[in-house]
């Protein structure tokens, strides 16, 4: 059993790998965590994690520049229905397109677009950076045993853009930042978080542990 964390030049994957290793160890769902830029290793893994920081277009280009990576992801996630976890821009890439200054095609796994966040309160800064609780819209196996709502655990966000799903049924949880923000999307075997589970302490570790045992 292995979990492939896709390394496509989008930032420091050290903390993501550490969080997955820790969650695997502490939850008893021991699995090999492999940080890889090789499509073959993605293809041979049981679970796939796509992290991503910075700009949508850069991340898309990073994926395109590894020959065979998009095919390996399509094969694993769409055809093979392996559990998939997108983080931050890795989650945004699941959308049909990103509108971050220019229009960039996404993977098109979730109907919808990535667009700038627009808090109603002009005093709220962009990027949205900090800790928020999550409001559940749809039960999801990844959120099992995680306290949510205003008194629940907090997730750590750093972003200026969000995925706006076209279908409300793909929206699992939102956060509030001068209005609702997409926090978690989910469809079939795919889940994605706008926040960083690897930085989100208790909530993040539990979410990752739930992912490691998830059998969609």
């Amino acid at each position: 059993m292995s979990v492939a964390i896709v390394d496509y030049g989008s930032g420091n994957l050290h903390s993501a790998a550490k969080a997955f290793e820790r969650a695997a160890r502490e939850s008893g769902h021991e699995q090999l965590i492999v940080v890889t830029s090789e499509p073959e290793k993605v293809a041979s893994s049981e679970r796939v994690v796509l992290p991503g920081v910075g700009a949508f277009a850069d991340c898309r280009r990073g994926l395109d520049e590894i020959p065979g990576m998009i095919d390996a992801l399509e094969e694993s996630v769409r055809k093979g229905a392996k559990p998939f976890f997108g983080i931050c821009v890795g989650m945004q890439l699941m959308a049909e397109r990103g509108r971050e200054y220019q229009v960039t095609p996404g993977l098109g796994w979730i109907a919808g677009e990535v667009d700038r966040i627009t808090p109603t309160d002009p005093n709220l800064k962009i990027p949205h950076m900090g800790w928020n609780t999550l409001n559940l819209l749809k039960t999801h196996p990844l959120l099992e045993d995680i306290p949510l709502g205003p008194d629940g655990l907090h997730a750590y966000f750093v972003h200026s853009f969000e995925l706006k799903p076209a279908q409300r049924s793909d929206l699992v949880a939102q956060a509030d930042y001068g209005g609702p923000l997409t926090a978690i999307v989910g469809r079939d075997n795919m889940v994605g978080t706008q926040f960083h589970p690897e930085k989100s302490q208790r909530l993040g570790l539990k979410l990752i542990a739930n992912f490691l045992k998830w059998a969609p």
Binding site: G11, N12, G54, A55, E100
Partner: protein
């Protein structure tokens, strides 16, 4: 053009000063490593760190905070403040600092800059902080009689990677970079120059991307990034497009 987000360290906290005055410090983050990480998550690849207490004391003072930043992020870190001898230069470079910045010692002890730059090619920068044309030292508490250009010339052949030119009177004031003086310096010497002090908005980024600023290696952004005046994603996008157009 490289945009360096800045973290200034005072007593273990990430602060911004105004005109270098320690009495006018605003704490922006209690955990500098988390701030560094937030910059990394926004898509920055470089980081400019200043050990403010170190600049005054003449030796590193925020060692733990810097080490935590280095452990936490994969950014190219340049560090200044209290670096006044070879042992300190070597120590930081071994710990993972990409580039050390020598400030006060470049004025008072140019031999150190030469030795450091020869020993560690491309990994030593000089910080020249000018107040009314003269270079300020010792955490900007004192002003020397030398101009930035005079000092830059002295170290020009030593293989210094960059000069970080800060207009002290503008730093933290959000009035815009002093591009004229910075470009004049860059045109007069062969070392790449980084503009610092006063970067306020996307207009500064646009000005940095104009042909007349082509000799500049980049710029440092502090307060404007912390208070949201400068949108990191917009700035990085402009820089990326300019690079792609070349």
């Amino acid at each position: 053009m490289i945009l360096f987000p800045a973290i200034d360290l005072k007593e273990g906290l990430a602060v911004r000063l105004q005109q270098g005055d320690m009495a006018r410090a605003t704490v922006f983050h209690r955990d500098p490593a988390a701030q560094a990480e937030a910059f990394e998550l926004q898509g920055f690849k470089h980081l400019h760190v200043v050990d403010l207490d170190g600049a005054f004391a003449g030796k590193p003072m925020n060692v733990t905070a810097v080490e935590r930043i280095l452990e936490t992020v994969g950014l190219c870190v340049q560090l200044g403040g209290g670096i006044r001898d070879m042992a300190t230069v070597a120590g930081w470079l071994e710990k993972g600092v990409n580039r050390v910045i020598i400030g006060t010692a470049a004025v008072r002890n140019p031999a150190l800059v030469k030795e450091a730059a020869r020993t560690f090619p491309k990994r030593v920068a000089v910080g020249l902080d000018a107040r009314d044309g003269k270079v300020a030292v010792q955490g900007w508490a004192e002003t020397s009689e030398l101009s930035a250009l005079e000092i830059a010339r002295r170290v020009e052949d030593a293989g210094v990677a960059a000069i970080i030119y800060t207009d002290v009177t503008r730093d933290g004031m959000l009035k815009g970079l002093n591009l004229d003086a910075t470009i004049a310096l860059a045109e007069a010497i062969s070392i790449p120059v980084i503009a610092s002090g006063g970067l306020a908005s996307i207009d500064d980024i646009k000005a940095l991307l104009e042909p007349r600023a082509r000799k500049l290696e980049g710029a440092i952004a502090g307060r404007a990034l912390y208070d949201g005046r400068l949108d990191a994603s917009e700035a990085l996008k402009l820089i990326r497009d300019a690079r792609a157009a070349v």
